[in-house]
């Protein structure tokens, strides 16, 4: 695979272009100037520590959270300036699997997957039923059509959320930690599924994950978020060879500096009257 030329690209040529996104919640700065570009058919994996703002970035990219500053273009459309009807049409081309699954609790799995189909297609019910079965079979949930989300395990919900995101065969798929909470075999199966979707349908994917193995298995490019910024975006090989200490620490799964955490622990145990920062973390 050739590395994209560094020359500036026209927004229309890109699946997603994120420009200078800032986002704070109250005093907490979560994103402090994030720039990202995702090409058509590419899989971008976003890595970062817990609480580093990966989910927030994804929510900004799909328009659920309005950034304080910066723009997001999806397939050339500025999603924070577009009209409502334009957005609705664009959203039918996008799928998102939430970190919390976000299945509709009052509907069965089948109805969950069927909702986008019945809302946006004219297909007869029998056809939709077949599509729902196919989508659920894709993630190994063929027997659970009539179950309610409350009757599923966490991993099953994750997979069901993925099936719902795939219902309308989207151009761009956003996944927030699709394999968190899955056993290694199922997680590997999901990785393979993502790879197949990419090669067969050419779906563009933005995947947030903690699992390094899966990240390197599926990514065309990796982006590491640290302190509200993108520390590095590059191909897996380049990232693996990177010598930046923070990148190395993340990839080598090193804990935080020993002295540092010792010191914090000591402070926490001894200086009880001096409240630390742990309260708002």
């Amino acid at each position: 695979m050739t590395v994209a030329a560094p020359a500036p690209r026209a927004t229309d040529d890109l699946a997603i272009r994120v420009c200078g996104i800032h986002k704070s919640f109250g005093d907490t700065v979560v994103l402090a100037g994030v720039d990202l570009e995702v090409e058509h058919g590419e899989t971008l994996v976003i890595l970062g520590g817990s609480g580093s703002g990966k989910s927030t970035l994804l929510r900004c990219m799909i328009g659920l959270e309005k950034p304080d500053q910066g723009t997001v273009h999806i397939q050339g459309t500025d999603i924070f300036a577009a009209s409502e009807s334009r957005l609705v049409r664009l959203r039918q081309r996008l799928g998102m699997a939430f970190q919390s699954s976000a299945l509709f609790g009052s509907m069965t799995l089948g109805q969950n997957v069927d909702l986008p189909l019945s809302e946006f297609t004219e297909l007869p019910e029998s056809t939709r039923e077949i599509i729902v079965d196919i989508k659920l079979a894709l993630v190994g949930l063929e027997g659970a059509v009539d179950r309610l989300p409350a009757q599923l395990s966490g991993g099953m919900k994750k997979r069901a959320a993925f099936a719902r995101a795939m219902a309308l065969d989207p151009d761009i798929l956003f996944c927030d930690e699709p394999s968190a909470g899955l056993d290694p075999v199922t997680a590997a199966g999901l990785d393979r599924l993502l790879l197949q979707l990419k090669s067969v349908f050419g779906i563009t994917m933005v995947v947030v994950t903690h699992e390094l193995a899966s990240a390197f298995a599926i990514a065309d490019r990796l982006a590491l978020i640290h302190k509200g910024r993108v520390l590095i975006t590059d191909t897996p090989d380049k990232v693996r060879a990177c010598t930046d200490p923070i990148v190395r620490q993340f990839l080598d799964r090193e804990p935080e500096e020993i002295e540092d955490s010792h010191e914090r622990f000591r402070q926490f145990m001894l200086d009880e009257d001096e409240p630390g920062e742990s309260g708002d973390g």
């Binding site: 009807s85 609705v88 049409r89 959203r91 039918q92 919390s100 609790g105 009052s106 986008p116």
Partner: protein, 266 residues
């Protein structure tokens, strides 16, 4: 001390005003969605609205019947006590019929529906909000207002007047039972008096009130549900706030509508 209390009252007032503003803006959005939506390819979900009518109605019907019967009976006894002093016991049926249809049935029904259906809606939407289901709808491209809010408000706009008419009937029967069994009024006399005393205006006045109350409950419940932030605790808070705020607004609106009807008749 006093200044502090004054400051707090002021802050509370501002808070309430902002809250009222949010209610109005939800009303505007939902109204536009209902009236303009159909011409922009988002028709009103009639089936879902019917389901909501049935749901809210079913939830509240047993309670409304019970309370209406009791209120009718209580009213007959109380008015008999006072009318006896005037020697006008023959007016019991009239008094029960008029106060029930014009005032008590719509008011009691609305308060009970706020406690039953309003809280259920707030809890439902609040849970959907905190579990990101509302976000999921948005991402799919389904507008949560037209999908969730409009059918629920429409449902209550229809259910509360229906329940009120039903409560009218039950309360009159409650009054009749007390009148016949306790006050020794003849059953035929009581029924004739009731029919003679009521004019259509009384019934429609009550239904108009019920319509307004239904709108208030729907708006407050949906607004509270959708603005839930946090976890399970926040859902509980939205639910309680819905009931309290609905009741306050219902009674305030009652005064307003009653005054309007009074001016019209005077």
């Amino acid at each position: 001390m006093f200044a502090d209390a004054l400051g707090r009252t002021g802050a509370l007032l501002l808070d309430r005003l902002a809250e009222t503003g949010r209610l109005w803006s939800l009303a505007l959005i939902a109204g536009r969605q209902t009236l303009v939506g159909p011409f922009r390819g988002t028709p009103v979900r009639v089936g879902e609205a019917c389901r909501q009518v049935i749901r809210s109605g079913n939830q509240s019907l047993p309670l409304v019947s019970l309370i209406a019967a009791l209120i009718g009976g209580i009213l007959a006894l109380q008015s008999a006590y006072q009318l006896r002093q005037l020697g006008a016991e023959n007016l019991v049926a009239d008094l029960v019929a008029i106060s029930v249809t014009r005032e008590l049935a719509p008011l009691m029904t609305a308060i009970l529906v706020a406690g039953r259906a309003g809280s259920a809606i707030a809890a439902e939407l609040g849970t959907m909000k905190v579990s990101e289901e509302i976000d999921a709808l948005t991402v799919i491209g389904v507008d949560p207002i037209s999908y969730l809010v409009v059918p629920r408000i429409l449902g209550l706009l229809i259910a509360v007047p229906c329940l009120t008419l039903f409560a009218d009937l039950i309360a009159v029967v409650g009054g009749l039972l007390v009148g016949v069994l306790v006050l020794d009024i003849g059953i035929g006399t009581y029924m004739a008096d009731t029919v003679a005393s009521l004019v259509m205006e009384d019934l429609w006045g009550g239904v108009l009130k019920a319509f307004v109350f239904g709108g208030i409950i729907g708006l407050v419940a949906c607004q509270q549900g959708l603005s839930t932030r946090g976890g399970a605790q926040a859902v509980g808070r939205s639910t309680t706030t819905t009931v309290v705020r609905s009741i306050v607004l219902i009674i305030a609106a009652d005064l307003f509508v009653t005054a309007l009807l009074y001016v019209r008749n005077a």
